[in-house]
């Protein structure tokens, strides 16, 4: 009996560990299930080969929303381009998308699938986030297949090689805005809540390094750094820690779904503290999940859906029309832009070969939601950022909140 008990115990622990580390492993969708989408508009009777783009992203698991939004952004771009007659004199775009479940193992096999599929000429949306992105990047680089991440912020990502691009803020870039936020909202005692992940740890370290440098000049101090693990739903211990430290403002270094849980639980105990979220929290799902508890949250994003920029308006309108009025987030917008810049590279090269795209994208640029988009020598896009506050469930722009970094530093002394 005892033997049986210990066996079961070992099994239970093993199972729960597996389930904790990768919530996506139990889904029925395997990476073989693919979503192929083509537009039905066959131009005239021309029988031209389609141009196939690849996509890797979590379609199941905790970050499924981001995977889905990236795919949606791609679809909007493809439809727009195909409606205008496609590329290279009438070739239609289509996408092959695989579910990487947000795990490195699955990400690697999705990358291999895309690489071995000779139809795929470029990948406008590699895995969500830096952890899985860093697994896929060297594979794409070695195969000479251009891949763009719309969400990775880790400095090493675009440094992988000349096939790997980042259409997102770098971590250092994002830190410059994140660090301005507490100052803008007038924080005195700041609490940092961070997930124990590659991103959370390096972002926290980066934030603390900035505080080390400018701490005596800004108006806030870091009163508490509180950690949680992925999959946490009960934040009570973290909250007790933060309240005990007397924090008046909380900045949260993780995705919207964790933030929503945290905010709900925090508001019950302290309705007055100010909340700051990162770009990954800028999604309407934050409001869906968090409800009243996320009212007044400050955050920022590269995309302002209410911007008067006609490219943004065109994108947002098309996106809403296609997805039942759903609001696009920054991942969707970045993925849309990534398709646009790959299309520009294809037209510029006059070819949809992997090798041709690899050369052309270095100098390609295109006008899209991010303005005039191109990649710098590191393979990083230059992005500007807008600050928002959630009011009545809407993301309202806080105008003129951010300064350029040098100006911000100068304004401190």
């Amino acid at each position: 009996m005892k033997k049986a008990l210990s066996l079961v115990l070992a099994l239970a622990i093993a199972l729960s560990l597996v389930a904790c580390t990768s919530t996506g492993t139990t889904t029925t969708t395997t990476s073989e299930d693919q979503t192929t989408a083509t537009t039905e508009q066959a131009t005239e009777t021309q029988n031209l080969d389609p141009i196939v783009l690849g996509c890797s992203g979590p379609l199941t698991g905790n970050n499924a929303q981001f995977g889905e939004n990236a795919l949606n952004g791609i679809m909007v771009a493809i439809e727009e381009i195909n409606a205008d007659g496609g590329l290279l004199g009438g070739r239609m775009l289509e996408v092959r998308s695989y579910d990487d479940k947000g795990t490195g193992e699955e990400g690697a096999s999705v990358a291999e699938l895309l690489i071995s599929d000779e139809d795929v000429c470029a990948v406008p949306s590699a895995a969500y986030g830096s952890s899985v992105g860093l697994v896929e990047a060297p594979l794409f680089q070695e195969a000479g297949l251009v891949a763009i991440s719309n969400s990775a912020s880790h400095p090493d990502f675009s440094a992988t090689g000349d096939c790997i691009y980042r259409n997102n803020l770098t971590e250092a870039g994002e830190l410059q805005y994140a660090y301005q936020m507490p100052q803008v909202v007038g924080a005195k005692k700041l609490g940092i809540v961070s997930m124990m992940s590659e991103f959370g740890e390096s972002f926290t370290a980066g934030f603390e390094a900035l505080q080390e440098q400018y701490g005596d000049k800004v108006g806030f101090e870091i009163a508490c750094v509180s950690w949680f693990t992925d999959g946490t739903v009960d934040f009570a211990p973290n909250i007790a820690e933060l309240i005990n430290a007397g924090c008046d403002t909380i900045i949260f270094f993780a995705e919207y779904n964790n933030f929503a849980s945290f905010a709900i639980q925090y508001r019950k105990l302290d309705p007055n503290a100010q909340f700051i979220g990162l770009m990954t929290c800028y999604t309407p799902d934050l409001v869906n999940l968090g409800g009243d508890s996320v009212e007044g949250v400050y955050l920022y994003s590269c995309l302002n859906p209410n911007s008067t920029n006609p490219e943004v308006q065109k994108f947002v309108a098309a996106y809403k029309a296609k997805y039942d009025g759903a609001e696009p987030d920054f991942v969707a917008a970045n993925a849309y832009d990534s398709v646009k810049i790959i299309a520009a590279a294809i037209e510029q090269a006059g070819s949809a070969d992997r090798e041709a795209i690899r050369e052309a994208i270095k100098t390609a640029h295109v006008v899209c939601t991010a303005g005039d988009l191109s990649f710098d020598a590191n393979g990083d896009a230059v992005k500007s950022v807008v600050m928002f506050k959630i009011e009545n469930g809407q993301f309202i722009e806080v105008e003129g909140a951010f300064k350029l970094w040098d100006e911000f530093v100068a304004s401190l002394s």
């Binding site: 115990l9 139990t26 820690e241 005990n244 929503a260």
Partner: protein
């Protein structure tokens, strides 16, 4: 601050206790670890979600969800475990693997039907919070504690005060003799699965409304810890499970106070292993040889 953590620990511990009791109920009558329990809980919570959304009244929706979850649990027994019990070659490992299998089947069904993302769940218990000294009681915490206590009391009555409960205890002590005495063991087993299903649904509902969140893997961590709590208290022993749940809940929150959030999920298993090294049958477990 420390006191606050204890209060948090008690409320989360009572939820662990409910789930833990569910494991013990089934272990009691069948000597079997119901490894499908975590998914039954998840399915129960999702039933609550869908039925509440169907808007035919909140309480009727919850009651229908409770009954449905009870039936899922009974279905598991009747369709898979009962045929195994009849076969002579099947031992405890066969049953265990079947349960683990059913766990994954349910989990996958949840994913297919309800999707993998976190979904909002309304908190019906939000009446603000109450401050006593430095300790804050949040209203949903109070409702959770009260509901869990009421359910635990009701289960205690069923098991120690009702006729079917006497049958359950008899089956637990000596299945053969219970059979000979005229206890219909099939009915007792079915009933045990039904109320353990209901308990799972209540626990799932409480958890979902406390965190205002619902998602298919919600049962995984919870089920693991509650299972640890059940073994800790001596699986099959009702009050052992309750105390096991409270110990895990409180120590977990206290550990976070001293060592930070990262250690949280390991705490239950560390305590469990320590206790089992000292008392292999758990804190309140009877050693097996008392069974004739």
């Amino acid at each position: 601050m420390f006191l606050q953590q204890i209060i948090n620990g008690i409320s989360i511990g009572l939820i662990y206790a409910l789930v833990s009791v569910g494991y013990s109920l089934i272990f009691g009558v069948l000597r079997m670890m119901n490894m499908a329990y975590a998914s039954i809980l998840t399915v129960g919570a999702h039933f609550c979600l869908s039925l509440v959304q169907a808007k035919f009244g909140f309480f009727p929706a919850i009651i229908v969800a409770l009954v449905l979850t009870g039936l899922v649990s009974v279905f598991f027994d009747v369709s898979m475990l009962a045929p195994l019990r009849k076969k002579t070659g099947s031992d405890s490992v066969t049953v265990l693997i079947t349960a683990i299998g059913f766990n994954y089947i349910l989990l996958n069904l949840c994913l297919v039907i309800w999707g993998s993302e976190r979904k909002p769940f309304q908190n019906v218990f939000d009446f603000g919070s109450l401050q006593v000294g430095s300790v804050i009681f949040d209203s949903s915490q109070i409702v959770i504690m009260a509901t869990a206590l009421v359910i635990l009391a009701a289960l205690t009555w069923v098991i120690y005060g009702s006729k079917i409960g006497l049958g359950m205890r008899a089956v637990q002590q000596n299945t053969k003799a219970a059979n000979l005495a005229g206890v219909n063991t099939k009915v007792v087993i079915t009933f045990s699965f039904f109320i353990s299903g209901i308990t799972a649904c209540i626990a799932g509902f409480l958890i979902a409304s406390y965190y205002q969140l619902i998602y298919p893997t919600m049962g995984v961590a919870l089920g693991g810890k509650a299972f640890a709590a059940a073994v800790l208290g001596g699986i099959g022993v009702l009050h052992g499970s309750v105390i096991g749940g409270l110990i895990v809940g409180i120590l977990e929150c206290v550990a976070v106070y001293f060592f930070g959030g990262g250690v949280r999920d390991a705490v239950a298993y560390i305590i469990l292993i320590l206790v089992l090294l000292l008392v292999p049958s758990g804190l309140f477990g009877k050693s097996e040889n008392t069974k004739v």
